[in-house]
Each structure stands twice: as structure tokens, then as C-alpha cells.
Subunit: 478 residues, 2 copies
Amino acid sequence: MKTYTVADLLKQDTNSLHEVEVKGWVRTFRANRFIALNDGSTLNNIQCVVDFESMDDVLLKRITTGAAVHIVGELTESQGKGQSVEIQVSKITVLGDSDPEAYPIQPKKHSFEFLRENAHLRTRTSTFSAVMRLRSSLSFAIHKYFNENGFYYMHTPIITGSDAEGAGEMFRVSALDAKNPPLTEAGEVDYKEDFFGKETNLTVSGQLEAETYAMSLGKVYTFGPTFRAENSNTSRHLAEFWMIEPEVAFMDLDGNMDLAEDFMKYVLKYVLDNNPEDLEFLNDRLLQEEKTKPQAERSEMSLIEKIKFVVDNNFKRVSYTEAIDILRNSKPNKKKKFKYLIEEWGADLQSEHERFLVEKHFNCPVILFDYPANIKAFYMRLNEDGKTVRAMDILFPGIGEMVGGSQREERLDVLKEKMAALDIDEKELWWYLDLRKYGTAVHSGFGLGFERLVMFATGMSNIRDVIPYPRTPQNAEF
Amino acid sequence: MKTYTVADLLKQDTNSLHEVEVKGWVRTFRANRFIALNDGSTLNNIQCVVDFESMDDVLLKRITTGAAVHIVGELTESQGKGQSVEIQVSKITVLGDSDPEAYPIQPKKHSFEFLRENAHLRTRTSTFSAVMRLRSSLSFAIHKYFNENGFYYMHTPIITGSDAEGAGEMFRVSALDAKNPPLTEAGEVDYKEDFFGKETNLTVSGQLEAETYAMSLGKVYTFGPTFRAENSNTSRHLAEFWMIEPEVAFMDLDGNMDLAEDFMKYVLKYVLDNNPEDLEFLNDRLLQEEKTKPQAERSEMSLIEKIKFVVDNNFKRVSYTEAIDILRNSKPNKKKKFKYLIEEWGADLQSEHERFLVEKHFNCPVILFDYPANIKAFYMRLNEDGKTVRAMDILFPGIGEMVGGSQREERLDVLKEKMAALDIDEKELWWYLDLRKYGTAVHSGFGLGFERLVMFATGMSNIRDVIPYPRTPQNAEF
């Protein structure tokens, strides 16, 4: 007798299969008769029907929510609704008990906050198992997309000796004695004595290293963890998150926009095609959640409609300069509803402005491009106007910034000037400058925050609920 | 006119395609006439034939090794050997020059040590581009295997608050002032003031967290970076390396061995099928390298033969107890050639013993299992004999330990006893113990060091040469 997964069994018809074995966890046990059994292979449970009259009472009492059981029985057509097959149990063995009084995951609605405190058990709920299956499916879609399009996956270093990436505050990595580190004669911490012989930090981006590989292998991407030591206790920030960073030689900013849009549509279409059950469940969950909100705050579209909208429609491409015009003349600006009023070209856009553009004005994903040079990073390609750079941000409704990218400055002299103006040491980035000395060429790339993509695809509103074990200020539990 | 990759062009026939555009880097420029152009899309170069008589001398001088060029021309059947097509150049534009005096990557053989110092340019050589394409291909094969077999990809945390993983020395992660950290009244570093409110380190393994997901989602795997702050300056150790860790509910050690063997055969077969050119190049490279060695030290099999041997043959499964018998009675033991002589059951195996078993005695991959409990980790399932645990190591010829795995101790009381004996705080691992309280079941998994797999598949003998930017003691460059 073969042991099947629940997903396998639910696909069978009863003509071809009779005696079956399955192992899983009890979700509910109703009327001393109906076990809803789940093994994680699918959102759905298989119903296992127990003949309680012929069964030992002690054994029946051990069939509780959370218990691991081994079931043998006959696969039959189900009389109940919502399932095509069920198992008439002939033998049940309890592999692991679950004390119904003590078990934290009761068969009722738990708050997300409670489930975060029990993150080691939260994938035993339908919501979190669906979220994490979608996270896995999106990950695979990402690798599949790049593989089909001639990209090589590259592992950029996590521990970095460079602090010139400039994307944010960094965590220090050290093996020195924390209390009494060795000091130099000048009284500073002597990192020469540390493991790597220099000060090291956790990476904030793999982009600079990815550029080195793009300039030899052509098309590469990273998909790995990145870090920010910023005290941002919001529902959109993590101290540790996963980022996808493609980098392509001979590609300009227009190509970069095309790539980002094509990529996002592909991975979202992939989950529409491959995870219909998980998406429908999360779609319904979000509808229920929104019912508790005032009408005006509810979304016009359901989760699945939002995903389909992105897959089926072009992203709107708008220059920073056009965006500033729109914002300057907008109602909230004129009525002074914005916290930061838009007065002049050159202003950095705040999340309230981005939300207005995406959620009110355009009502679709927006690619903003050609930003003022002085609000963007040193490595971005300066336009001929001398004041804007070939940068792009992709903004999503409900999420905000999903992607940040640019064409990279490929001209050695311009790059050096920029670094000098910002006091970035050339010695620190000698290898990065080498790329402009030997066979330089136009190249571009972007970074996509993976958890924000998962938020969009699952409708979850707190980033802590789309990664297994979130790291945030004051929290590194599990 | 469409811009093609070199890989695309080399697959074309000249009847269907005439005028073409291609961008890439000059590998060599021979006789003022033949450019070998590479763009990273394949190991191979496309030959571009220049009519030097009709071309500007200044332009010709700029066609140097490493220069980035844009070529327009006609695709024709090649007269030369080793290629089916070539381009008759009608127009060439230099995108980025490369000073032939200064460019570090000359068209000659460089030592691997020199190339490590120029790791940002080393993928511009055939050897390293082949290695990194294979690394990428193996990565994709890994995701593909697990996806096809019902596993979910899980991102376990990189920053961990737990130091109970016990797999090795850890790096500290901190945002405290390095020189004057805040101290408690007792004079110890006050980690309550640190970013996460506790002492945190870089993970040495995602296994414990992966177990939490296996016990709800059934089959999961991790593929992420792990760290060891150990001062091991060898050709087989890195401070930062990538590990694959599957974990499966309801699977015992036999299933674990089956999974590991099936998995390794699949990913190696994948590169045999998908990367023939890169493998043939590395195969020849290794043959050349071995010619410089005395006959006795050369391998009996070529690289491709070794990979095929693993794909086509069963791994030998041997208990620790059998292995000790073999070693005790072996020639090197009797003749006292081993540095550590095997005298008694219970001895930890050293790499000399593993090599003897794999390379001399069995001459194939070996799975050793059922090790003495006291030389293995606390979480491994104790056998009924009370002295061995359900652990396994997979040893590969030329590589040594590739995989370490076990069935996990699923019994709460036994696990608690083991932790108490090793002084591991239950409070630290409350969530891990919860898995044994609520619906516990047999489960197993293993960890595979990705770089060792890449070494095996590429024939590279130094682990620093199979990861883009290696982190080792005294080295975190780039």
C-alpha cells in the first residue's frame, strides 16, 4: 500500500484507487466522526470518516486538533459537499498527540499578532500555509523566468568589506571580543585583528558585484538576503529581507523598464496559473477583512482582480518632471493636504506623493524615471541635461515602491567626479572602477524587494506576515 | 536589425539569417583580421572577420583584448574549423576601450591565485565563465528538483538569536558602538541596547527552523548562505558558503538516504544534459592539469566520467560499525600509516579515513550511517541500542563530506534528556520543543554544502574558485 499526499488523493478518482494510506495533522474532528486531515501538500483537507462505534474510546479522545495521525482506509466518493473523495477509515494510529488544552493553534480565528508570537506554528493555519506556498511559488517563478531568458544566477557576498554601497545603515559583523576589542595605538578598534582583517558589514545590495558579472557573463541576477540596520518599525520594513537584482550588459534604461515589467507580469501570471486554490482562499480572506472597514477604505478590486490587472495592463511610464507637474497641480497639494507640499522641481517624493500618483491619479502600476541626480545614488547614469539621472522606481498600488533601478554610469571620468563630490574613496571601489577602464559599456539593472512582491500577491498588509521569521527592531525570535 | 547573443548566432544557419548585430568583448584579435568575440552567453566565441584594408588604422588599434565592441555584419558559413558560422564585419564601433598594456586579463594562462586577486575580472576567462555558468545551472537544477517533487522553498533567517545550533563558531551581528558598547551593571555588554534587544549571530544552519515548516507544510527546503567563524584556511572551507537543507515530515533515515541520492543524481544529470560545452572545456582543463602530476596521482576517470559514474551507480551504504571494522583491518591502519589509528568503536572519523573508504576501499560515493551518539548533534534520533543515532554522512571521492543529515529525535522526553546532558537551555529552544509537544512525528533532513557540489561538478580543487567572492580568514575583498 502506497502512502499518498493529501494533494495526490484529492486528484484521484475512486475507480482507480481503493486502499490508501496517508499521514498528516488533524485540523478538526467533528461529531466524533469527521477528521479534516492536512499534510501541507495543499490548502485543502481530506475528510476521513471514522466509524466511532467500532473504535476504542481512548483512541478517539486522542484525535485532537494538531495531532499527527497515520490513516489507512478506503477512498470513496464523498457524500459531503466541497470535496469529491473521502477516506473511510479502517485503521488510525496516533503518531504524536496534541493536548487540546495547551495547543496554541485552536480551531478558531487567531489574531495575526498572536500568530507572529507563534510563528513556528502559524503555517498550521490555512492563511499562513497559503502565504508560504505562494512565497515558494513566486521564488520558483523568479528562477524560471531568468533561466528561460538567458540569465545566470549569481551569489553575491553577504559579508562585505565595502561600506560604499550607500543604500542604508549597516550591521557590523565581527568575531572580536565584544566587551574589550583590541585597540590601535590611536585608540580605535583594531579591525586588523578581526576575522577578515578589516571592518566588515552585512550587505545592503549585491548590485556592485552583480555589475562585475554582467560585464563578462552578459545577463545575471541575484536573489539573496540583504540587510538594513534602520530603526523603521513599520508594516513595510524588515531589517533582513530578500532582494532580486538583475543586471544586464548593453541594456539601457528603456530596456530596464521593459525587463522589469515583463518580469513582474510573468511571475504574477505564474501564481495565477499554479496556485489557484491558495489565491482564492486569500482572495476571500481579504474580502472578509475589508468588510470590517468603512466603504470608502475598501479596495475596488479583489486580490485576484488586482493581480490580473497588473498582468493584463501596461505600466504607466512617467518622468519625474511630469510627475512633479501633476503633483504640484493636484488637489491635495493645492488644498495643503500633503504633509510635504510640492513646490519645486527637485523635491524628493514622499510616500504620500507616490500613493497619490499610483492610487488616485493613474490607478495602476507606475514607472517613474529620470530623477534629479542629487536625490539618487552615485552610480546612476547622468543624462545629457547634466541634472537628471537615468533612474527608475516602480510604484504599486497599496505597496508603494516595489522596484528601484537605473542605467549605470559607464563613463570613468563622470563616475570619478561623482565619487569625489560625495567623498567616496576610489581605493575602496578600485574593482568597480576597473569595469569602466576595461571594455566599459552601457548596462542597467534593478532591485526588487521580494517581500513586497509577496505582499502584493497575497494581499497581506504587514510585511512580518510574508516571511517565515521576521527580523525587526527588538525582535530576532526563533 | 535585431541584436543577437553569441549563443543565438552560433545556432543559426546562414540561409535564414543574413545581416546581424552583436555586442560583446574582444577575447583575441589575430592577424589584424579575426576577432574572437564573447558576450558570456556561451563558452564559445564567434569569429568576426575584419577587412583591415578598408578600415581606419586608429580604429583597428582600438580592437584589443577586453574591449567592448558593437559589430554589424553578414553571417556566413565559416571557412575555419571549430565553428559553423562567422560574421563578415561591415561596421565596428568600440564601446569601451581596453588598454592592452594595463588590462590584467591577458590572452595567456594566468595562475588561479592571480585571478583570485582579480576576481572581478576572472569570469572574463573561459575557465571561470564555465565554472560560474555551471554554478548557476546547478542552482536552477536544485530548485527544479524540489519544485517537481512537492517541496516548498523556505527562507530561514540569516540573523539568529539562537546559539544552540551547535554546528560551529559564529559571527556576531551588532549595531552597538564597537569601541564603547553599553555595559550592564554587572559589567557585561548590554545587548538589550542592541538593535534586536539581544545578542545575535549569523546562522550556521537553517535546519531547526526548517523543521518547524516541515511539521506543517510536509516537505520544505532551504537554499541560502550559512557562516562559520572558524580559522580554517584550507582549500575546502569558506567562512560564508551556501547550503541546501531539505526537511521532510514522516520520512525516516532510509527515506533520507534515498532522497539525497536521488537529488544528487538529478542535479548532476541536469548539468550533463544542459551544459555539455562548459563541462567538456573543464574536462579538458583538468586533463591538462593532471598531465603535470606524477602518474600515480592522476585520476583514473576524467571529470565527465566521474559525474556519469555518480549518476549511473548506486551509492554504497555502510554503517559506521561496518566502516570501523573495515578501517581497523585496513593496510594503512595495520602499517600505522594513518595519522589517527583506528583502535576502538566510537572513534570520530578523520578525513584520511573517509578518503580511504571512498577512494581506496569502495571507489564510489559512500553513505555512512548510524554513528555513535556522542560524536553527533543533540537533535539526532537515538537508536534502540541506546548508543548510536540515525545520522548519515555522504562522502564523495576527491571532495570528502558532501552531505550531513539525520532522522531527528521526535520524542520530547529523549530530546530533553539530551539537551540537559549538553547544557542546552530549554528556554532557548522552546519553539523547537513545541514541535515534539504538538503532533510530533518522524522526520528527517540533510544539509549539502553547495560549493562542494560545484567543486565536484567542475573539477576545481580550491573552494575559493567556485564562489564569486570568497570569504576566508583575512579576506573579504570586493
